[in-house]
Amino acid sequence: MTLLTVSNLSLSIHGLHILDGVTFSVDPGEIVAVTGESGSGKSMTALAAMQLLPKGTTTTGHIMLGDDDLTQMSEAALCNMRGNDIGMVFQEPMTALNPVQSIGRQVAETIRVHDSSISRAEAEARAAETLERVGLPQERFPLSRFPHELSGGQRQRVVIAIAIALRPRLLIADEPTTALDVTTQAQILQLLTRLAREDGMGLLMITHDLAVVADMADRIIVMRKGQIVEQGETQSLLHNMQHPYTKMLFDASRHEVNLPEAPAPVPLLEVKDVCRDYRLPRKTLFGQPGQFRAVDNVSFTLNRGERLGLVGESGCGKSTLTRAILGLEPVQEGSILLDGEPVFTGTKPNLNVRRKLQVVFQDPFGSFNPRHRVDRLVTEPFHLLDTPPQGAERTRAIDEALTAVGLRPKDARKYIHEFSGGQRQRIAIARALIIRPELILFDEAVSALDVSVRAQILDLLADLCGHYDLTYLFISHDLSVVRSVTDRVLVMKSGQIVEAGETAKVFDAPQHAYTQALIAAAPVLPDLSQATG
């Protein structure tokens, strides 16, 4: 018998259609993955199952949990059901917990709220047990801890503990790992799978990471614009995709680009023994302020025309290194030379060098002043030139840059909010290109993008390499992306470079234990061409 049956669910918020005839089911012990582009209604489907929809929502259709229709239930009955029969794990571990309550209390609350006869001590004992199950043993993570005392992955486990404390029949997990680094992500996914398998719990998991989907789901649901475009058993769906959108999605995830050959090695950027310390607040009154070494003795050379990758988990110092190379912050030790000139002389950044450098950031939304038009935005680097182009010359430069990244010259008069995320990232690249820099730094430039958009940007990059002989440093935590757009790669951990070498070599035969762990943890899409072929 099925656990959750959603039939013909349609949903609109203030008259705006969000979901349209969504029908699917989840069996006990089954893992069902929901995937699809951003805004396709995945989260809304999950919230509908919890009956926690935002105000002003109207629904039609049925959501059956066993024999009960959730859409018909009273609020009291729903409260009783939530947490007891259905547990839910939300996307953002940093904010999903109440910051001012200890984790023990938050877990115990689920237990006590549904059965007030349970004593506080007993509830805490059970909370401890649950936390143990999700890998937070009492010896190291006592109940009295507060959320801020835990890492993101650990917090996410607490959220899971809250959701599974009463062993619900169904667990809904809405993108439970997007905010986590690959190694932690692997642990969480493992945990969820175990829970489903061991307890016979139904798991409805929402994710946009197709590798994860393919890896662990029994069944896959693909959504687009509020509709289910395709669903089926994982293996059969993967090998026999019907809907073009599904195909496009999977293709884009696996997208690889062909880079032109790199020219003969001539050093362009030389980073020698660089260290960057952050001052920490003093611990004691007269004690020395603590130092945190975010970049620790890093050295490498980047040759002209070379495409270098930099990978490593979140917080390992990648962005700090970027800022040092850009000359935005001084380094404490070592030297950074571009074309033989230091990027930072004395206390001032060297404008001569700055001019040869540009950068593209991760956030396609935050990278632009919302109050300026595109022409003004992309010409900002002209400020570095002694004689910035004026009038017609300037217009030509803008047209050229925009055309190069696949936009139209007339986009120049628009504001940034009139563009999609992918288009914004193109504009960011146009801004980087406009003064023809010797070196471009990409700091997580594609991490925030949809898979399909990401594929386009990567293509653009490869294309530009052909036309402009780009030299770049590409920073990402996404190994598959780095693999396709770089010649050489550096692996960074806790501020140090632990491994360096040709990209293909490093990925196929990692030497350092950390690199191995990183590569092992990264979920990979099964090579479908092989299976079908």
């Binding site: 059901m81 007891n84 001012v100 609350e109």
Partner: protein
């Protein structure tokens, strides 16, 4: 914590030092001489000179500044020019009116504002919300001295429920004291309550939109339970800031209200002293007020830590 406290203490000392200098300079350049004020129109020159010597006004400004600051460091604020009593004693007396009044007003505004803010937030967009918010807009717009006038007109002159002002003294009993402070406290509390209710509401609304509130609901808590158990404490942090600011304001800002109700509080003392050019009293009271603001802010910071464990760790 130690370092934090020490740092705060240092900035407190610097603030006080700067404040003392500013106050002294500003007050000293004010035209008007305490001695001639005391002696009035028909004062004889030699009488005046004698009085000036007696008050120490013939000393140089620097000497007087140093004497004043030196005295303060030993807890001696000097002697009032006009009243000839130790300033410390006078301030002490006045504090017995001003501090209870401030606390009373604050308590009133909290009692009104918290439920109103919570009610409005939980009925967001509804008639109740609009009603409460409209009332708070009005509350903020009403000048408190005008409100005080109206209160006196209605409750003292027409209904005669409360005395029109003055303070009976705490020796008449707690009840009598509170009764005397009721109208001034209401007048003071009105705008404060309105502001507080608004802050409470918007802070609660912010919290209600937080992810952890959804987590709480997913656990099976009702909307009300989630609000009380998870919403309030988090919403309290910005509210505390405002309360801290308000307390300082109430202590110092009640000058006009104390004037309307002729309460013998700090505000009136300062007002009288300014017009009597009782410089030493003005200087000392202003110093005290500055000090109290800094101390209250410090206490508010500590209160944050009590509410928010994240801050406990940092300090």
């Amino acid at each position: 914590m130690l370092r934090y406290t020490a740092k705060r203490f240092l900035s407190l000392l610097i603030s006080l030092a700067v404040a003392s200098l500013v106050i002294f300079v500003v007050i000293e350049v004010a035209p008007g001489d305490p001695a001639s004020f005391m002696l009035g129109m028909n004062a004889q020159p030699e009488t005046l000179a004698a009085l000036r010597t007696e008050l120490g006004l013939d000393q140089s400004r620097l000497d007087r500044y140093l004497a004043w600051v030196g005295g303060m460091l030993t807890g001696d604020f000097g002697t009032s020019y006009t009243y000839r009593t130790p300033v410390t004693e006078m301030i002490g007396d006045r504090l017995w009116v001003s501090v209870p009044l401030a606390i009373y007003a604050l308590a009133l505004s909290i009692i009104v504002a918290f439920p109103a803010g919570i009610y409005a937030a939980s009925r967001r967009g509804g008639a109740g919300d609009i009603g409460v918010m409209g009332a708070t807009q009005l509350g903020v717009a009403v000048p408190n001295f005008w409100f005080a006038m109206i209160l006196v007109l209605i409750f003292s002159i027409n209904l005669r429920w409360f005395s029109a002002g003055g303070f009976v003294g705490w020796d008449k009993g707690l009840w009598a004291g509170l009764h005397a402070l009721t109208l001034p406290a209401i007048a003071l509390a009105l705008p404060q309550a309105a502001i507080l209710a608004r802050v409470m509401r918007s802070s609660l609304l912010d919290v209600l939109g937080e992810d952890f509130m959804r987590t709480a609901r997913a656990k099976g808590l009702t909307a009300r339970q989630a609000l009380w158990r998870h919403g309030l404490r988090n919403a309290l942090i910005p509210v505390l800031t405002i309360i801290g600011l308000q307390f300082s304001f109430l202590l110092a800002g009640s000058i006009i209200i104390e004037q309307v109700f002729y309460l013998p509080g700090l505000g009136r003392l300062v007002f009288q002293s300014i017009s009597a050019r009782d410089l030493i009293v003005v200087e000392s009271v202003v110093m005290l007020l500055v000090f109290s603001v800094i101390v209250v802010n410090f206490l508010v910071d500590l209160a944050y830590a009590a509410v928010d464990p994240r801050l406990r760790a940092r300090t």
